[in-house]
């Protein structure tokens, strides 16, 4: 399996993402933001960082990069895409995922380990669905703009569609996210985004290997 990890000017977690991809047993390569061709990758990771300096809004400019145009086509064709932190913001800005990520309610950058509850798809998503469900994961979160928000009716719809992928465990919501939502999927189930960083939780030395389960789930979603 070949993973592609998109790198924008200002990305900072792409190396850890490459490492996490490789730990699933696959190969991984960087995709520079100016590349228009994903060159046969089987899954894409849009990593964390501060793409294009987060100017205007986090993810707003990155979404127009040639690489993101290619990622949008890849996603439309059913290819699995994982967006982490800034990558999640980029996918929301690109309308590949519902909702938006706003300034943390506390206005403070948070950096701490959080417990996440994963939720399965309640609608038939077929072979493209991520299979992680009903598990508790311990994963670090580090962000200043991670407050998940969507209009109430959109929140009702994504809950009804089984598109909530992760929630912060009770009492652990670090940013004021609506309904404790930490990560969502698209309707087809092949695009997943979350604020916490699974790529930073792949080695017992740093406290948790739970992040690997997220990467394994994405690998398993390969069409």
């Amino acid at each position: 399996m070949l993973w592609g990890v998109v790198q924008f000017p200002g990305s900072c977690d792409e190396r850890d993402a490459l490492h996490a991809c490789e730990l699933t047993g696959g190969e991984a390569r960087l995709i520079w933001h100016e590349e228009r061709d994903l060159d046969g990758v089987d899954a894409v990771v849009v990593p964390g960082g501060f793409s294009y300096g987060d100017y205007l809004r986090a993810g707003a400019i990155a979404r127009f990069s040639p690489a993101m145009e290619a990622v949008a086509e890849f996603a439309a064709g059913g290819g699995p895409v994982l967006g982490i932190c800034n990558g999640f913001q980029v996918l929301c800005e690109a309308d590949l995922l519902p909702g938006a990520l706003l300034l943390n309610e506390s206005m403070r950058f948070v950096c701490r380990q959080v417990e996440l509850q994963s939720e399965g798809l309640s609608t038939p998503g077929g072979a493209q669905s991520f299979t992680l469900a009903g598990e508790m994961l311990s994963i670090p979160a580090k962000h200043g703009e991670g407050r998940y928000w969507a209009p109430e009716e959109m929140l009702d719809a994504i809950e009804a569609n089984g598109q909530v992928a992760f929630r912060y465990a009770p009492g652990q919501n670090p940013n004021g996210s609506a309904r404790d939502i930490a990560g969502v999927r698209n309707e087809a189930g092949n695009v997943l985004g979350l604020m916490p960083h699974p790529e930073h939780a792949v080695d017992a030395m740093t406290g948790s290997t739970d992040g690997l389960r997220v990467f394994d789930a994405v690998a398993g979603a390969r069409v």
Binding site: L56, A60, N104, E105, S106, M107, A150, P151
Partner: protein
């Protein structure tokens, strides 16, 4: 080239922590009776074809899900 100013603000009903922080700081400076502070941003630009500014705002300058925007043309350009 025609000049324009775009005002972008968080939609009604969306918590604006920056506005709240400003509001909370005001009494300490002696400004009483100020409420509902909302912080947005303003973009000035020059556009060859001002008719396309709405599309530009919807696609890039604002996120229509969370923000409202207004376009003003600036006189004297």
């Amino acid at each position: 080239m025609p000049k324009a100013r775009v005002l972008i603000r968080p939609k009604e009903g969306i918590l604006d922590p920056q506005g709240k922080a400003v509001e909370r700081a005001l009494p300490a400076l002696g400004f009483e009776g100020i409420e509902h502070v909302r912080v947005g941003r303003m973009v000035e630009l020059e556009a060859e074809d001002p008719a396309r500014l709405t599309e530009l705002c919807e696609k890039l300058l604002a996120n229509p899900l969370i923000e409202d925007f207004e376009i003003e043309s600036i006189d004297g350009a």
